[in-house]
């Protein structure tokens, strides 16, 4: 297969080198019959998937085990897909080029809802039965994890088991169970029942959901076997500092979305922004220490040859020793032409000082996310940023020579009025005014302020999980109003929404009945929904109509606080009562403090015995 594909198929497709799996630091093993074959599947393109940190961790972790070979597979681009189909070939794992249906496990990472159709498409190209119920003895187990696994229900029909939470420890337990099961030559269902008993594992086929016929809401969600627990507890690693992190990561030949060493300095976030799912599900905050970070980064640069390191986290400026860390890194790498980048900085002038420290010469565009236009709205979403913070930040930036500022906002937040929309345009104007106040000699010659607004998608496990999304009509009107409110020609405005955020809202809070829609949309050819050129809202609309499912029920409906939500059986450690209290505070625009300043008892401390935040 290997040679045939190399000679006859790859010359015909774009980016052929991405289908060979021979990158620096890719892992190649000599298989034997006892080896567990694991295909880590990323349901998007190579360039997107290869930028993803979680894949690198699990790839390294699994390959540390002598009897496991973990390989990678990505969604083949449309030209490669066509070649596979026309030549009657099966989608394969990159390293060994073995057909995917011959693996023991195919493990998908769920990063965003809009990749769900790609999962079905990849299963089909792999000749693996789409429905978990149709898989036979000897077929791979299709497993999934990642942030979207916190509401796994829309994928319940297709996935044999989900890992809820941080997978590093759970995945090894699943592998051990598999070894035992193989030795005992058990049945498929035996394996699933066994792993259902592992903390953090959810096997959807072992649960039954019933609905109220009149209203369509869930009336019960219960396990059907003794092995399956009623509640699934998300898993998290207490000691992140000593947790596994690979010394080597695969280096892509082609340019990827984030073509650099991306190193996670802490997990979780204590800001408590109410729209942010990551901020709730990844609690509690856990940091790595400065020496650990430095030595791991050193090893990674040596092993990869990258010339850029990005310090990643949900809010990098919140790392408790950020200044020391940056100072040390700058000192270490100044002469080696390794640059450091800081994504997701907070809005304060301190951030600008940090940026200056790391980018001595180049002043690339500055991106800030005030998220909402008025103070009231920012209080509603608990984004602890004031107008003063923002204007101080841009002023400092302009003084230091920046000229290009991009501001991110969301539209369709709860309780939003037209005044809040105008506030966005106002902030853009005030940003321009700050620039004008600065001496012509000092400031950058050209100014560009970009306002970027996205349609808000309410997510599970956030205080806004009960609210209906704005309708497309409402979004359109608000966008139009915003556009009309912008007067200055130095401000440009960008907005794209082809209906993607509506669909995202459906799946982000969907239940297992959506499996039918997903399957129908897949049959109609939907895939790469996250890629503008392939997203086809018409096909999706037909898929809903033909399966008799009303998407508005999921996207637009306000839920009652006492409704059983499809993801209620998962316990993230943050209590539902806390989320509800936050939702009520939001209605009154009351804020909740930043964790290190004052604990608001979200529940995570009781969730795991012995866990203490900020000690």
């Amino acid at each position: 297969m290997n040679n045939y594909i190399e000679k006859n198929i790859l010359p015909l497709v774009t980016k052929p080198i991405t289908y060979l799996g021979n990158e620096v630091n890719s892992v190649h093993k000599t298989p034997n019959k006892d080896m567990i074959r694991f295909a880590f599947a990323f349901p998007d393109t190579y360039e997107v998937g290869m930028s993803h940190l979680g894949m690198k961790i699990l790839y390294g972790l699994l390959n540390e085990e002598k009897d496991i070979w973990c390989e990678r597979v990505f969604a083949p681009w449309v030209d490669m897909e066509e070649q596979l189909i026309n030549n009657d070939l099966t989608l394969y794992g990159l390293e060994s080029m073995m057909p995917l249906n011959e693996y023991d496990f195919v493990g998908f990472t769920l990063q965003y809802e809009m990749s769900f159709s790609n999962i079905l498409n990849m299963l089909k190209l792999s000749h693996i039965a789409l429905a978990a119920a149709d898989r036979k003895e000897g077929d791979p187990f299709v497993i999934a994890g990642g942030p979207c696994a916190y509401n796994p229900e829309p994928l319940a029909d297709f996935i044999d088991l989900f890992v809820i939470g941080e997978g590093e420890e759970v995945i090894l337990k699943i592998m051990e169970a598999y070894r035992q099961w193989k030795k005992a030559s058990g049945k498929r269902t035996d394996f699933l029942k066994t792993v259902a008993g592992i903390e953090g594992v959810y096997v959807p086929s072992l649960y039954k959901v019933s609905y109220d016929e009149a209203t369509g809401v869930i009336v019960s969600f219960l396990p059907i076997v003794d092995e399956a627990p009623k509640t699934i507890h998300k898993q998290f690693i207490d000691d992140l500092d000593s947790s596994y992190f690979p010394e080597k990561i695969v280096v892509s030949y082609i340019e990827t979305v984030h073509d650099r060493v991306s190193f996670e300095i802490f997990r979780g976030c204590g800001r408590g922004c109410r729209f942010c799912q990551a901020g709730m599900i990844y609690r509690p905050t856990r940091e790595k220490t400065v020496p650990t970070i430095q030595s791991k980064i050193r090893a990674l640069i040596e092993a990869t040859g990258y010339d850029e390191v990005s310090l990643s986290s949900l809010s990098t400026g919140d790392y408790s020793e950020i200044e020391t860390l940056i100072k040390n890194l700058v000192e270490e790498y100044e002469d080696q032409k390794v640059s450091i980048s800081l994504p997701s900085l907070r809005i304060d002038s301190l951030s600008i000082d940090m940026l200056e420290e790391i980018q001595k010469v180049r002043k690339a565009g500055l991106t800030l996310a005030p998220e909402a236009g008025t103070q009231r709205m920012r209080d509603v979403i608990n984004k602890g940023v004031t107008e003063e913070n923002l204007l101080d930040t841009v002023r400092t930036a302009f003084e230091k020579g920046w000229g290009h500022v991009k501001l991110y906002f969301m539209i369709g937040l709860p309780g939003e009025t037209y005044e809040d929309i105008e506030g966005i345009a106002d902030l853009g104007q005030k940003t321009v005014d700050e620039y004008m106040k600065i001496d012509k000699e000092l400031r950058n010659k050209s100014l560009k302020v970009v306002l970027s607004a996205s349609s808000f998608v309410p997510k599970a496990f956030t205080p806004f999980q009960w609210m209906g999304q704005n309708t497309r009509e409402e979004f359109k009107n608000k966008q139009r109003h915003l556009k009309a409110s912008i007067k200055d020609r130095k401000i440009s405005y960008s907005w794209h929404d082809s209906g993607v955020s509506f669909l995202e809202a459906v799946f982000a809070r969907g239940d297992r009945r959506l499996g039918k829609v997903l399957k129908r949309a897949h049959e109609k050819g939907c895939r790469f929904d996250g890629w503008g050129e392939y997203f086809d809202i018409e096909k999706w609309t037909e898929a809903f109509a033909e399966t008799g499912i009303d998407p508005d029920f999921y996207a637009l409906r306000n839920r009652g606080y006492d409704e059983i939500l499809p993801w209620d059986f998962i316990d993230t450690g943050v209590k539902k009562s806390f989320l509800k209290a936050e939702a009520i505070k939001a209605q009154e625009a009351l804020t909740t403090p930043y964790c290190p300043e004052k604990c608001s008892n979200c529940g995570i401390m009781e969730f795991k015995e012995g866990w203490q935040c900020h000690v």
Binding site: E6, K7, N8, L10, P11, L12, P16, I17, L20, N22, E23, V24, V251, Y253, I254, E255, I301, E302, A303, T304, G305, Y306, D307, Q336, K337, V361, R362
Partner: protein, 228 residues
Amino acid sequence: MSKIQYRFKRSTALRFLSHLDQQRLFQRAFRRANINIEYSHGFNPHPRMSFALAMSVGLTSDWEYGEVIVTGELDCNDFMTRMNAVLPNGLEIISAKVCDEGTPSLSSLLEKSYYSLKVKLVPEINFERTNQIIKSYLELPVINIQKRNKKGKMVEKDIRPFIESISVNQEDDKNDPINVKMTLVYIEQQCVKPELVLESVNNLNGAIFIIDPTIECHRHKLLLKADF
């Protein structure tokens, strides 16, 4: 600071690299090999390294040249061992030499390129016929092709001066693609792509070769005007 010129080969495993991919790959390999390279000064510093030729996607080669300016002194054997320890399977440094600052750039020294291509013939055409066609093709004093110039306009270009020789050989298995050997000449750093030569044969004689991306193109040798 010293300038190192090296010869390297690229085999099947990495033949799909683009020119940019390969540049990035070498840049990272230098870092992994702990070889410090010089950067240009200015607003956006870039590493001082280059290749004699931009290799096209799909090309394998036994004979390519690259050069790099390293900081400090470096022994060329040391350079080779360290680089070959970190280069992925598919790229290998064959030889290297340290040269003076004033040494002319590799691209100004290009003289001849020796290619071998595996090409399928269209079904109606046999090997003997191809052989005759190539013979008479080479007798043409001028071979004009249509080419897009830098401004995007179509212009005529005579490619005959770039062609030194072409020969065709049959493989043992007659169903295999035939082997076309070509020697092409550089004139003022310009040359013609071997696939374009095949295309012009087709244009003058009707379809002979099947020209698509599955043609395997290999460079045996690259001759420079100076000894390396």
